[in-house]
Symmetry: C2
């Protein structure tokens, strides 16, 4: 069931135009979306979680109001260099004394699991850079033949002076460009030209034959190639972290549009703000580096998501334990209302027509629902949408508390609206206290202990109640000479 009968008018902030625009994908009700994925040389951290949760909420909301979303998120397993010029995959391979593709496999599998654990909808396609060496070579050849790229020995560079509007996404000025280049190759035409293909040293483990000799792709070209291969020459949304605006996305535009004869590559560029910890960017050296894995040991997926969505996706967001506890409180509050409503519904047998007060309450519910949708349609303003949701929780709680009797229609409406809104941004509300599941055996121990004590006191009615209630849930209590045992009924 869609969240509303007609898709609302959605506005999005486009990094390219630096302003809000009406959202109108190329195809009616179909969104083609590409988000830059991780370089799989290390564990994913909360910064990754922030970006992918933010885009997940956007995707889920678009889907919940009637769009089909074809979502591609890549896996970078070659060509993404560190500031030292070393490939991140080679760095990981040296660190772990493994083949780079073994490192890629390890962290890719870990990443897949992290994303599943965070309840992030799987992309339709998760292409790997190394799957597209042929297509990358083809595109580089195309850029050379169109005059946008040139060869220097075994490497190929993109000539940024051939593109009049280079810098249009980031707004970077030509005179600033030099400061950003890490490549020292003095044979480049312009110091800001970037590599499409790099010559590899002899016996380099991540290299392939090409018309220019053995080498490997530059980092930027992979996204142009994979986006074009799976989504076509023109896509609707391209997303990523803010730090990718320049040079990564700027260069993607230059490559893609030069290749396709200036067809606008991306309609809407969306970028997520930075996640800081204690006001500073996460760095292993600062000791404030938190992996997704670590976070999931302390908090469930809904809590992490609620924290991430408590700030607008474009704003910076600071991680702290107190913010996480606040998020957990909020999840528990929503969940508590749902539990309460469900228990009231279980007791409400005879249904009657709703009265005037209830009608008025239902119109408030509808108003907050619309307020939520309006907030999400306004550049996916999750903090505002959440405040509408909290409003709904508050109203519902106070309405339930002041009334001695509530009709099931009203209770169902509360439950349905809470679930609809939460699910539309990926909150499942299936929260169980993390320890509770693991403690089933301990709970059973307490029950058996209490039952033994009741038997010692000859209170057999109560000890038998325990036995029969356990048998109802499939646990058979057996008293043997060695003590009481519980086995599972088959």
């Amino acid at each position: 069931m869609p969240l509303c009968a007609d898709p609302p008018k959605i506005t999005v902030y486009n990094t390219a135009s630096r302003g809000l625009e009406i959202f109108q994908p190329h195809e009616e009700k179909h969104v083609k979306m590409y988000v830059c994925g991780p370089t799989v040389y290390d564990s994913a951290h909360l910064g990754h979680a922030r970006t992918y949760i933010a885009f997940d909420a956007i995707i889920r909301f678009l889907e919940s109001v009637g769009y089909r979303v074809t979502y591609v998120r890549n896996i970078t397993d070659v060509g993404h260099l560190r500031e030292t010029g070393e490939d991140r995959m080679i760095h990981g391979a040296t660190r772990e004394r493994k083949h780079p593709m073994e490192v890629a496999d390890k962290y890719m599998m870990e990443f897949f699991k992290d994303m599943d654990m965070l309840n992030i909808r799987r992309p339709n396609i998760q292409p790997r850079a190394s799957m597209h060496i042929v297509e990358i070579i083809e595109m580089v050849q195309g850029l050379i033949s169109r005059g946008y790229a040139y060869r220097v020995d075994g490497s190929v560079y993109f000539d940024i002076m051939k593109v009049d509007d280079y810098g249009k996404l980031s707004g970077i000025r030509r005179e600033e460009l030099d400061r950003h280049r890490i490549e020292p190759d003095p044979r480049k035409r312009n110091s800001a030209d970037f590599a499409l293909w790099k010559e590899a040293p002899p016996d380099y483990p991540l290299s392939w034959p090409s018309p220019w000799g053995r080498g490997f792709p530059g980092w930027h070209i992979e996204c142009s190639v994979m986006s074009m291969k799976y989504l076509g020459e023109q896509i609707d949304i391209h997303g990523g972290g803010q730090e990718l605006v320049f040079p990564h996305h700027e260069n993607e535009i230059a490559q893609s549009e030069s290749f396709t004869g200036k067809k606008p590559f991306v309609k809407y560029w969306l970028h997520t703000g930075e996640l800081t910890v204690g006001g500073r960017g996460m760095h292993k050296s600062l000791g404030n580096f938190i992996t997704i894995r670590q976070a999931l040991q302390n908090y469930d997926a809904d809590t992490i998501r609620l924290f991430m969505l408590s700030s607008h996706y474009r704003s910076p967001l600071d991680y702290s334990e107190s913010s996480m506890r606040q998020a957990l409180e909020n999840i528990m509050r929503i969940r508590g209302l749902l539990d309460h409503v469900n228990s009231l519904l279980a007791e409400t047998k005879d249904d009657v027509d709703i009265d005037a007060e209830e009608r008025e309450f239902l119109s408030k519910v509808e108003a907050t629902r619309l307020g939520f949708i309006r907030a999400m349609a306004d550049d996916f303003n999750t903090p505002e949408a959440l405040s509408q949701l909290y409003e709904l929780v508050r109203h519902s709680n106070s309405f339930i508390n002041k009334r001695s009797k509530i009709s099931s229609q009203v209770l169902q409406s509360i439950s349905k609206n809470i679930l609809d809104l939460c699910n539309s941004i990926g909150l499942l509300l299936d929260y169980k206290p993390p320890k509770l599941a693991a403690d089933a055996e301990k709970l059973l121990d307490i029950l058996i202990e209490v039952r033994a004590e009741l038997r010692r006191r000859s209170m057999y009615d109560l000890s038998d109640t325990i036995r029969s209630r356990l048998s109802e849930i499939g646990l058979i209590v057996e008293d043997t000479r060695e003590g009481t045992r519980v086995r599972v009924a088959r």
Copy 2:
């Protein structure tokens, strides 16, 4: 801790020699192993589970006796044709109206999860065929230049008449070859020649440029390429289902050895027997097709594994509900002994020297342990190894039952041996009755209910015991006007 101080002498049945051989990898204590992975166009079924569990038990056993195993299992996402000549990925894409790479992604992710759920150790590298188009083209070029392959328009075929020992793995006779060919191309030199590269129809979604025009790789070449890339020209173990012996593995040998100048490609060829259901091969049309997913809804990973290992990996194995129930019984029996031993250990405080009867029992334990290792070292004879394990369980149970007191050293030895042996073939014994975890909330409900009744009867000492025992495991009981609620302590 390794299972034994020195690796035992292991013998393996080699399909190539049709006999048992002493296992001696190329590198001391390091095994390079390649197993053919799934074609990801549909859900994996119990036949896949059988093969990958069998090889997992082999790998875990090798690792538990001191070998390092570098394990590569590929993902086939192009080039594996159906009998109709249609690529399985295209077949899946048509069925689901998706891009073939979206189908690949969907079933690959599902497969990864299935393997994790079955507790199958992740391979070191899981390369995809589509990641190696460049290397495939290089190898095909190499085979052409060495005179083993020839071009026919946009396709390239391997000339089996150039290989004297073609058929050495499967033992197939030249005159039988014709019957197995599905390719109708009349321009082939010999009807049994197989495709290394196939010309693609126009606008074919799974095609790449090559020296012979746009096309795609044949199925067999990918495994030669990926095995060589990640494990080198000569590997120790190559595994797969029996149905792959011919033509897939036969052709891998022909390609690989022709390319490397006749270096023996694989030292030991291991093949798993067929899994049948009701005596017949699994087929969707027969209604006896069971996905891994479905099986995991009814049985836990240990039960499925024990069933699979109850037959020797080379023998056919018939799936039935009664065999599965038998496997579950056996797991419960092992688990029951462990539980019993652990509870006895908890009661055994004062430790005394073991007596003569215990010493005799411990030597029996050691004998079954050695029997288990001997069975596994004899071509990974899991049914015999399991019978040693059951012997150990039986002996232990009867020893425990007949003795009034057992020293903790003996109890620990039982527990350690059971765990060592089970873990060495991938049985975790962390089996919890599937319902128990989910029932934590129900158990809590019963406790709260009993506590309320105790309070009604003014038995506050017992009701307070329940409260304090719950608080010990982090659950805070709060009595409110609306009733009793339990919250998680933070």
